[in-house]
Symmetry: C2
């Protein structure tokens, strides 16, 4: 039997909501598996205080204070995708403590000669979540129409697609639907315990890898597949379209962050109107399979309850779609939209 | 000084216009560098007879008959992307003859232990054209507006984007424009002697790699960048959008093969109307940069001169765009469309 995962998650000062996404989502969705957050600047505080999730899980200043942890998780997605050099000694310490080391960065742990050698010496496993050997093109064979395929999309990266997907799948399960969250990014894979790091797949095989995710999960009534990037993102639109065309979703959930007007990290690139986002995604999706946007997940992180309520009401009226902030309001409106679509599709079969 | 490339190109029975694309394009655009085509079934015939290009270059039955060749080229793109097993002995023979071996397939030569060992023993270079270490995201910094970016697009894969690009760039040069063909696929790279195997790049870095192609070539007045796949292709749309968004073209040339109604190799997937192709590509391109389709390259390979003339006239009227078959008619109409766009853009600056 596999040993249960008991994680120490390192953030070490990179604890804003975007850079520490991996840590925050593990604290939110897998708190039972988290022993401590290694964040030297916040040692002594609780995870809840620092990250807004994780309750009383402690922030600690050294691995010695994370007793019982057997897994060291790189909990950040730093700009540039590289492990900060000053983290090297602590990762080597984790290896020496015989902890499994897990990273979702593009730069692989095993490609660092020091880590590689230390892991061999201590018999420790280095897990690079983005590593994959996807080499199959899409075949469009074997997709079942009795599994409803839902996919989260967005106007930008890092605006809550993974969270919306997890919350929606959980909401569907609570309402009695056999639903599954399907992960396509490093954080989602850590939360779900499986999935495909789609942005690391060789371009020719992205749709093939997406299709395989469907084939592997379509025994569920509904799958909610996490989106990546955005068709409007100057860097990642390629990943987004490959995923969209490989999944051939029936319904899309549009995610966006309230108050964001420009592409994150590329402030001279404006974001389009939500109407245009809906129009272009539907055009792109319908090339492969009949599909429409069925709901909106508003990420109101930086706003008050009242402002978020107003935004949801306004955007719902503008787009003619149900809208909610899944963290504040729960996913009920989106659950309803999915079950409605499910009924429509059943009638069409 | 580097030794001049003297190629023996292997096709060995895979000599239809699509599978032998690499061989045919080298025969057409680099005949001076081709010593022979190794095609055991066609030994004794001329390349012209078998491939419709290459004039009197002989088809031979063994490497012994390709005297003076120093480079062995895998001249096919077989279904599945793997080197046919019965080719192994002849590739080992090429290595033993101290020939450089070149392949553009997804399966790398150097990952075959037999080839790897033999190459080491004989001090021979194995060149995997698709190999790359692209690891940069797009930055949108440094793009010059005094270089006109032209990009070939299509409704499907394998319908003449590379040929249209080469012919258009050559036509522009003949008319006195400082133009360059920029390669993005294995055949184009062999013809041009450089470029980026974009479909083999990790998905997150496709737009970054495309952008680098622009930065490296924008000292020319006009660049004509070869397209890959199609936004309508169930397998390769990811590659196509990454390229389109990374290049940020000013003008697009739409390519299609006359008489093709379904996706090549996926006969149950219908191709959309050309009007829809133009509309969706323009919508996708304009997300990043003002761009429109300025001409049509009709591939009339399987039709008579008269039928192709009629088709060009009809499609030109339907789409309101100049249309020609660059092989039959030459690229003059497309050259004119590019120089017109160049004038318009100059006025706008």
């Amino acid at each position: 039997m596999a040993t249960a995962r008991r994680m120490a998650i390192m953030t070490d000062g990179f604890n804003d909501a975007f850079t520490a996404k991996t840590a925050i989502c593990l604290l939110r969705y897998r708190p039972d598996e988290v022993v401590a957050v290694l964040d030297r600047q916040s040692a002594g505080k609780s995870a809840q205080e620092v990250f807004g999730a994780g309750g009383s899980i402690p922030c600690v200043g050294s691995l010695a204070d994370a007793a019982g942890a057997n897994t060291f998780v790189v909990g950040i997605a730093p700009p540039g995708g590289k492990i900060p050099p000053h983290w090297h000694p602590i990762i080597l310490e984790a290896i020496a403590r015989k902890m499994t080391v897990v990273s979702g960065l593009h730069e692989f742990l095993r490609d660092d000669p020091e880590f590689y050698k230390a892991a061999a010496v201590h018999g420790v496993q280095l897990i690079d979540i983005r590593d994959n050997d996807e080499r199959d093109v899409a075949q469009r064979v074997g997709l079942r129409d009795d599994c409803l395929r839902i996919h989260t999309i967005a106007n930008d990266c890092s605006c809550g697609k993974m969270v919306a997907s997890v919350e929606l799948a959980d909401g569907l399960k609570r309402s009695g639907v056999d639903a599954a969250f399907v992960a396509t990014g490093q954080t989602g894979i850590l939360v779900a315990g499986g999935g495909c790091p789609i942005d690391r797949v060789i371009a020719d095989f992205v749709t093939g890898a997406a299709e395989k995710l469907v084939l592997a999960n379509q025994h569920h009534e509904v799958i909610v597949v996490e989106g990546q990037g955005s068709l409007f993102h100057p860097r990642y639109s390629c990943v987004t379209l490959g995923l969209l065309h490989g999944l051939m979703p029936d319904g899309l959930i549009l995610c966006y962050e309230m108050g964001r007007d420009t592409v994150m990290g590329m402030e001279d690139v404006s974001l389009p109107s939500l109407e245009k986002v809906v129009e272009f995604y539907e055009a792109a999706a319908n090339i492969m399979h009949p599909c429409r946007v069925i709901g909106v997940a508003v990420n109101g992180l930086r706003f008050s309850d009242r402002d978020v309520d107003d935004e949801c009401e306004q955007v719902s009226r503008r787009l003619g779609l149900p809208a909610c902030d899944v963290i504040r309001h729960g996913p009920a409106k989106l659950v309803e939209a999915v079950t409605e679509l499910q009924k429509t599709r059943k009638k069409q079969r």
